[in-house]
């Protein structure tokens, strides 16, 4: 990438990322163990209880994550490469943030309207397409999906105020 020197700087080192993921998995494992113990994790008279398998699954997650954590802590600073560079992270966020906003919008505006907005803005901002082209693809895409899902296959997808206004819900 030609983001300049600044772009190649590590936004987060591999070591940090390894440690974070290992800790996160350990936490998940702990949650699983906690709920399994509540359900009963012993081997009953007629085989394992509901929590038996999840308990050991949780335990193995914790143990293997602990080992992964140990390995991560041993990464020496001079060998510690970048997990993601600033320039890369920027590009990733350029997709991730709109996606999160898009999913948020779906609950409010329905999937068709938010998809049209999402596709249009994505094309306009990232692809630098002309407004009319972006809009045509965005709206056309939503109309096509509306026909496929709602009309032909009768699969109800989330709808919002616009569909209600048009009497399409």
């Amino acid at each position: 990438m030609s983001e300049g020197r600044d772009g190649a700087r590590a936004a987060c080192t591999r070591k940090t990322a390894e440690i974070a993921v290992a800790l996160l998995l350990m936490a998940l494992g702990a949650i699983v163990i906690y709920d399994s113990l509540r359900l009963g994790a012993k081997w009953g008279s007629d085989g394992p209880q509901p929590g038996y398998f999840p308990f050991y699954v949780g335990l193995i997650i914790c143990i293997s994550s602990a080992l992964n954590l140990f390995n991560a802590l041993r990464i020496r600073p001079e060998k510690d490469k970048a997990f993601v560079e600033v320039g890369q992270l920027k590009l990733v966020l350029v997709v991730l943030v709109p996606t999160v906003i898009y999913v948020g919008l779906v609950g409010w505006l329905g999937i068709y309207v938010s998809s049209a907005i999402f596709v249009t803005l994505f094309m306009r901002r990232l692809g630098k397409y002309a407004w009319w082209k972006s809009l045509a693809v965005g709206v056309g895409n939503s109309v096509a999906f509306f026909l496929i899902f709602e009309v032909w296959f009768q699969v109800p997808l989330p709808k919002g105020p616009l569909e209600a206004l048009l009497g399409l819900d």
Binding site: D46, Q154, V155, P156, A164, L165, G167, D169
Partner: protein, 336 residues
């Protein structure tokens, strides 16, 4: 026109359109009706719901369309909670199995049939005690007594799901006879029947439709039906027997009765006109010759109630489930 004005005009026009049907006498759906199945695709409830949907569409019984949605999570709790939370929404229907009663009791998920509005009982599903045809048993008690002799837990009973209808019947048999069975839950009725054909288990309480093919092929045989009366279908199914020829379990000395509700409910807080619309709609479905054929194929008990009688039936059935499940120890910790 300024944008604001335009929006206001549009909103007004929309409101007018939405209010239009209310001006008439009877209520009618104004948008697509969602028909929820609190079970997976391919099961008995799913088949019935999709059949109703297809009949409604084929005979143009409704102006709006009906879509079927499966919400099977948490033994159907997902579907019931969805309808419970849609209070006052007249565009949602749900078909029930016995999990209407069993799921809240066994899992402690907070819902009750009183959160819903009963619309119409479509039919009752029968349960038959089946054994492998190669076994020497002639009557239900032959089998039960043999199991007693073999010792507790030696007879294996396969069924669909856990702490639901099949296991409740098993528990009820245990309570009446003092036998102890090993109940093994499977995912679907077809798999259960095949386990019995393969001699991996000793008996099942499959619905008629789940085991009829194996019966006709001479692989399974029915011992008795868990209803108060014999099934009324007298057409021969095998060379020698019809559904009517299967005796009731009670007449055999096995005093256990169980039928499963196949009924339609709506969310709570809907108006009587809205309920009446669906009652009329479902009555029309029940009058169709295709429906009668469907009933005969599955050897259903064709009792169909609505209104007060339906409500009373459901209340009675709930009390019975609570008693049965309490005695069997199926209640979730914390549910009363």
């Amino acid at each position: 026109m300024k944008p604001k004005l335009m929006a206001a005009a549009a909103a007004f026009a929309g409101a007018l359109l939405a209010a239009w049907p209310l001006a008439g006498e009877a209520w009618e759906p104004t948008k697509t009706v969602e028909f929820i199945i609190p079970a997976g695709t391919g099961g008995g409830a799913d088949q019935m719901a999709r059949y109703i949907q297809s009949l409604v569409a084929k005979h143009h019984l409704m102006k709006q369309s009906m879509v079927v949605v499966n919400k099977a999570g948490g033994a159907g709790a997902e579907g019931f909670l969805d309808v419970k939370n849609a209070k006052g929404d007249p565009h949602k229907l749900i078909i029930t199995l016995s999990n209407l009663f069993t799921t809240p009791l066994a899992t402690g998920v907070p819902f009750n049939w009183r959160d819903l509005t009963p619309v119409q009982m479509m039919a009752l599903d029968e349960f038959v005690l089946w054994v492998n045809a190669s076994k020497p048993y002639k009557t239900a008690m032959d089998y039960i007594n043999d199991c007693k002799k073999l010792g507790p837990g030696k007879c294996k009973m396969a069924g669909t799901g856990s702490k639901q209808e099949d296991q409740i019947i098993t528990a009820a048999i245990e309570q009446k006879t003092g036998d102890k069975f090993t109940y093994i839950p499977f995912k679907g009725g077809g798999a259960v029947a095949v386990q019995l054909v393969g001699n991996h288990v000793e008996s099942t309480v499959n619905n008629p439709i789940e085991a009829v093919a194996q019966w006709r092929a001479g692989k399974l045989k029915p011992l008795c039906v868990f209803d108060t009366e014999r099934m009324p279908y007298k057409a021969k199914i095998t060379g020698t027997m019809s559904w009517y020829d299967i005796p009731t379990c009670k007449s055999q000395g096995l005093d256990v009765e169980y039928v499963m509700l196949r009924g339609i409910f709506m969310p709570g807080g809907v108006t009587p006109e809205q309920v009446q619309y669906y009652v009329d709609l479902l009555q029309k479905v029940r009058q169709l010759p295709e429906w009668k054929e469907f009933m005969a194929t599955g050897a259903f008990n064709q009792t169909a109630l609505n209104g007060k009688a339906y409500e009373e039936w459901v209340a009675k059935e709930e009390a019975r489930h609570v008693a049965l499940m309490k005695a069997a120890g199926f209640m979730a910790a914390g549910s009363k």
